[in-house]
Symmetry: C2
Subunit: 125 residues, 2 copies
Amino acid sequence: MPLDPLPVDATEPSTACCPPLAGAPMTAEDAARTARSLKALADPARLRLLSIIAAHAGGEACVCDLTEPLGLSQPTVSHHLKVLTEAGFVTREKRGVWAYYTLAPAAVQELTAHLGTHLLHSRNA
Amino acid sequence: MPLDPLPVDATEPSTACCPPLAGAPMTAEDAARTARSLKALADPARLRLLSIIAAHAGGEACVCDLTEPLGLSQPTVSHHLKVLTEAGFVTREKRGVWAYYTLAPAAVQELTAHLGTHLLHSRNA
């Protein structure tokens, strides 16, 4: 007895013959959002700050630990940390007189996975 | 008979007790180079161009295929493609009257792997 055909939802694009493209083009909105995240990272001081926080125990560092290794003033370091916080790469918590910054690894992972999905050509596509 | 002790090279840091930090801080030179790569990507038009090239058959597209989807002039598209070429994300080949751009996936892979190495905290570190 032949099996019933699978129900077809006419509102969805057919994927019967071909797998979806692994490297689907980015939409304008997606590209604008991704470019904003990349711009937040695309600064040598911010990359070094984030990598120092990542290397600290627990992925957390006090702002007081971050000025000396970079040789920058505390206001400059605070400005860069504000950009990283607003972009979601770190979270900030005030304890006593110091602010502590914790890595938000999901933000880095999502960005790198997103670049991999859209900017790498699938040989099977 | 006791085994001879392993030779100790005093010029190498000891890793006997601890694995190396997965999230080692970036050096100033590394951060400067990585920021340059990220800046080349951190533009909505360039992200869309690269994702369109990645989605094309063979990861290659003619410049003539790239102006219409973005709604930008050919000089503007050519400028963005030049930035991507100089950053190593695509390679350019002239055939007849048109230039063809091919994705250089290793550049994207190296960048995302590098961010993962330095910006993600290892829970075991």
